[in-house]
């Protein structure tokens, strides 16, 4: 088992874990967003989407366990990397300027990551761990989004998600070693598209919910 530690315990190994789980989340976000777009069609469509999803039963549970596992790996590895990288430069520069490689998206990865975790906990508490027997998902959403404060928090959180995706997406490909003259420019563009789609797609849901549900 030594080779397992010698693989996933190395700096590149940890990066691979971040990349695989990160791309997994982008896959999840895509599905989540597509489902949630039914909100635009009104409460019936949204409710029926939720019912169909839950009718999948064990498949949903399996996906939930998978997501939990991915989250555990992504968060713990991310925190470990943050700590190790902090320690790798014990004496900080008095004056350091960035040369144009670093972007606001890459520089804020650990912080946007923690903010997303905070959002996730609140999001699960308000949507997942609530009474699903006596109220429909539309009712839950319209209740939650009736608070202006929550709408603002939700929308800002989606901007944070977009930031995280912008660096995370292309970064995952670089980590897999898929930096290729033919495809890298496209991956960069796709990174930006994914970020904007996630930001706008999820970001407008509270407002739309208030109008439609």
């Amino acid at each position: 088992m030594d080779w397992v530690k010698g693989t996933f315990g190395t700096s590149i190994g940890k990066k691979q874990l971040m990349a695989v789980t990160g791309l997994g989340f982008i896959g999840f976000l895509t599905g989540h967003l597509l489902g949630n777009l039914t909100i635009y069609l009104g409460p019936e469509s949204f409710n029926s989407y939720a019912e169909h999803l839950h009718a999948l039963g064990p498949l949903v549970n399996m996906a939930e366990v998978g997501l939990l596992l991915f989250a555990t790996v992504h968060i713990s590895t991310g925190l470990l990397l943050f700590y190790q990288n902090y320690k790798a430069r014990p004496v900080k520069y008095v004056g350091k300027k960035w040369a144009g490689g670093r972007t606001i998206f890459s520089a804020t990865m650990p912080y946007t990551g923690v903010l997303i975790l905070v959002f996730l906990i609140i999001h699960l508490k308000t949507f997942h761990f609530v009474d699903h027997d006596n109220q429909t998902i539309s009712q839950i959403a319209s209740n939650v989004f009736s608070s202006v404060g929550y709408v603002v928090f939700y929308t800002l959180s989606m901007v944070v998600v977009a930031f995280h995706v912008k660096h995370g997406f292309w970064s995952a490909f670089q980590t897999f070693g898929a930096n290729h003259v033919k495809y890298m420019p496209a991956i960069f563009v796709l990174s930006a598209i994914c970020a904007v789609v996630a930001g706008i797609g999820f970001g407008f849901l509270p407002v739309v919910s208030r109008l439609v549900l």
Binding site: G6, G13, K15, R89, G95, A99, G101
Partner: protein
Amino acid sequence: MTKKINLTLKVWRQKGAAHKGALETYSAQQISTDMSFLEMLDLVNEDLTLSGKEPIAFDHDCREGICGMCGAMVNGRAHGPEKGTTLCQLHMRHFSDGDTIMIEPWRAMAFKVVKDLVVDRSAFDKIIAAGGYVSVNTGGAPDANNIPVYAEDAELAMDAAQCIGCGACVASCPNASAMLFTSAKVSQLALLPQGKVEADKRVLSMLRCMDELGFGNCSNERECEAECPKEINITNIARMNRGFLKAALFSRHK
């Protein structure tokens, strides 16, 4: 046109690894804009020596951008603000009269300050010793061009081989990671048929050695690529990432 300029320097002075360092202010008078940055420091050091003070310690050797000895953070930038140049190739014409210049050593856990601007980069030697070579049996010299090498691969290998081991990539990386250096040293060999033979073992041992030395983890910030005086590309890091995956998951080597 040659001009003379006057500058204020804020230089990191530190007696040794165990001592605390601090920025000291010096004035550099009548500096010709034709001078290199190191010549400017030489002049300041002459004045310091004449006035009985300890001169500023800094590393240098070739003074033409090929040895990799020089290097310091100049106004927060590795080797100064110019692209694709080492500190010895930075000329004073890029500064203006009255400028204040801050000079700090490379900072990383794996690069301890020896004195003032001199840091210990022997960690790089350890990474090379871990696998940055090809094993060659002694005997008669093999024929040149015996093994065909595709010209473009040779070019890429030469691009990677341009790395002079200066350490600017580590110094400028927000995580103090040595991935650009290590990946260049892995790539210059892995791209060629002679180097492919030991590629799997090499990438595993060089990476593990790099990790043990206390360098940070690469998070694709790309500051290294922007600051490297030899403009080593991060496609080398990608090559090392996939080389590592292949070696770790599919080769015999543990």
